[in-house]
């Protein structure tokens, strides 16, 4: 399927097919079990009873090979940045990244530390930034919904 990826021309058939495929993709966003700091606690809550992400078809997968979405939950030190980038590279395309909380957005509280990465977008492309320190599960769910909107508008087969 990826040989057709962004290859077909724009017309009614491919547009509708793209809509269907995007709907399927956005309805089953499997996110990776990966957290580095206190945002991780909120991330676990987001999968829990109060703010059940399974409603949107999002389930946690423990291996990067089967996940579509990486949520950077917490402070990334320079040492961790290398590993995070490797995990990102291990995910198969198409893949998405949500930067969750101030630390992942810009370094946050630890911005002036000698060892903290000033924002995860320095090492990988980010789709959604969720502000907060840490963001509540509701905010993260809003981030997921925004990501779903973005996936729905994407051109998957069309150039």
């Amino acid at each position: 399927m990826l040989t057709l990826y962004k290859q077909l021309p724009n017309f009614i058939l491919t547009t509708k097919l793209d809509e269907l495929l995007n709907w399927c993709r956005k309805s089953s966003v499997w996110y990776m079990l990966f957290a580095t700091a206190c945002c991780g606690i909120e991330l676990m809550q987001t999968g829990g009873p109060r703010c059940d992400w399974d409603r949107f078809g999002a389930v946690p997968r423990s291996t990067p090979r089967q996940s579509d979405l990486m949520i950077i939950a917490g402070t990334i030190s320079y040492k961790m940045a290398v590993c995070t980038r490797r995990l990102y590279d291990q995910m198969p395309d198409p893949k998405y990244v949500i930067a969750m909380g101030s630390c992942a957005n810009c370094g946050g509280l630890f911005k002036h530390s000698y060892s903290v990465l000033k924002g995860i977008d320095k090492v990988m492309p980010v789709d959604i930034y969720v502000p907060g320190c840490p963001p509540r599960p509701e905010a993260l769910t809003d981030g997921l919904l925004k990501l779903q909107e973005k996936m729905q508008k994407e051109k998957f087969l069309r150039s």
Binding site: R50, R55, F156
Partner: protein, 395 residues
């Protein structure tokens, strides 16, 4: 059936008719398999949601019922990733034995007295043999990924499935002993519609064999509490850590397809399969030739689904066993008890050639008492459930 078909198409040679017929049956069975495995994955997530006081998938289609379709299409669209250092041929090959091992068993599983892929006279042996293919796939997946976790998962699955195959086969032997046949249709025909005519209640040793069968079948299917090969807290995702996209979906399919195989085996071997009461059969036969089979199919599906739902509940209720505990359960408890149940059933058949009706009713009513206690506890628990107001906020 094939004779009738060849009469319909007299110009075609016999072998061609046979080949086309085999193809049609294979496609139908595969369709049934995928149409079972998909929705059951949605059902399992909904039940898991209820047990964890979550909701589960409810956005995709009415109540999320086509969630499995979205998952499937998405996995088709994902990149098919093969690690650089992997054994590439084996890595590509590994998902297919797992998938085949489960689908091949469907050939001899009966749906009704007429609907069966092929009623082999060695049906039970065939099922056990075909199921054994799964191990090859899991080890191949674990080895070829060139990853420590997958290798550990593959080795665990090999150890687990080989040691649990022994009590499984021994407990199946009890059924073979009682029916005197390996063919599944003959086994079902030698039981009756009423519960006291089922093999499970025919003597206490057969009841033990049924319990052993259920435990070791769940272990064969790699379901929790025996899901050590893919233990997420210890090994990353077990043998399928390096698999992405469609190749991973094959493992996924096999896992949920296994549920049907376990449920259908339990229903057909111990619980009377598609047998319906004589009154129903007479009523249905009066309506036409098709209705009896509809009743039989419904009866068989009912019995199967009870076990499918039970296994799903077990998964979300029980914690995972440790490796040494797993081996201990198989070798120290299940295997000796399976031998005892074989010898006991043999002696029982010698002492009571016609069966002992009192014992059958005793077993039936003790089983009903257990089910009744379970239902009563469930209702009793419900009294403590708080108002649904919190629940409605997030729906």
């Amino acid at each position: 059936m094939i004779q009738q078909l060849s009469l319909l198409f007299p110009m075609l040679p016999m072998w061609l008719v046979q080949a086309i017929w085999c193809g049609v049956v294979a496609v139908l069975l595969l369709t049934f398999f995928s149409l079972f495995a998909g929705p059951v994955s949605w059902l399992e997530r909904r039940i898991a949601g209820r047990i964890m006081s979550r909701i589960g998938p409810n956005r995709v289609g009415p109540q999320g019922i086509i969630q499995w379709l979205a998952d499937g299409v998405k996995n088709f669209l994902k990149e098919d990733l093969i690690p650089r250092d992997a054994d590439k041929i084996l890595f590509r090959f590994a998902p297919y034995p797992v998938f085949l091992g489960v689908t091949l068993t469907l050939v001899t599983l009966p749906f009704s007295s007429l609907l069966i892929g092929a009623d082999l006279n060695v049906g039970l042996l065939y099922i056990v043999g075909a199921w054994g293919l799964v191990v090859i796939g899991l080890i191949a997946a674990g080895w070829s990924s060139n990853n420590k976790w997958t290798l550990l998962g593959g080795m665990r699955s090999a150890a687990q499935m080989i040691s649990y195959e022994i009590p499984l086969v021994l407990s199946l032997l009890v059924v073979v002993l009682m029916s005197g046949s390996l063919s599944l249709q003959t086994i079902i025909s030698s039981q009756g519609a009423s519960p006291v005519e089922w093999f499970i209640f025919s003597n206490p040793f057969a009841f033990i064999a049924f319990v052993i069968f259920m435990i070791s079948a769940v272990a064969e299917g790699n379901r929790t509490p025996f899901d050590l090969p893919e233990a997420e807290s210890e090994l990353v995702a077990g043998y399928n850590t390096e698999y992405s996209g469609m190749r991973f979906l094959f493992f996924f399919f096999a896992e949920w397809g296994n549920l049907y195989v376990i449920g259908a085996l339990a229903a057909s071997l111990f619980l009377g399969g598609w047998q319906i009461p004589a009154g129903w059969r007479n009523f249905a036969s009066a309506q036409g030739p098709i209705l009896p089979h509809v009743f039989e199919v419904l009866m068989f599906q009912l019995k199967t689904w009870i076990w499918v739902l039970l296994i799903i509940q077990l998964r979300w209720t029980l914690p995972r066993l440790r490796v040494d505990q797993l081996m201990k359960v198989s070798w120290k408890y299940l295997t000796p008890f399976a031998f005892v149940s074989i010898v006991g059933t043999g002696l029982w058949m010698v002492v009571f050639p016609e069966g002992w009706l009192f014992m059958k009713y005793l077993l039936l009513f003790s089983m009903l008492a257990v089910i009744g206690y379970f239902v009563w506890r469930a209702i009793w628990q419900l009294r403590f459930t708080k108002s649904k107001a919190d629940f409605k906020l997030i729906v």
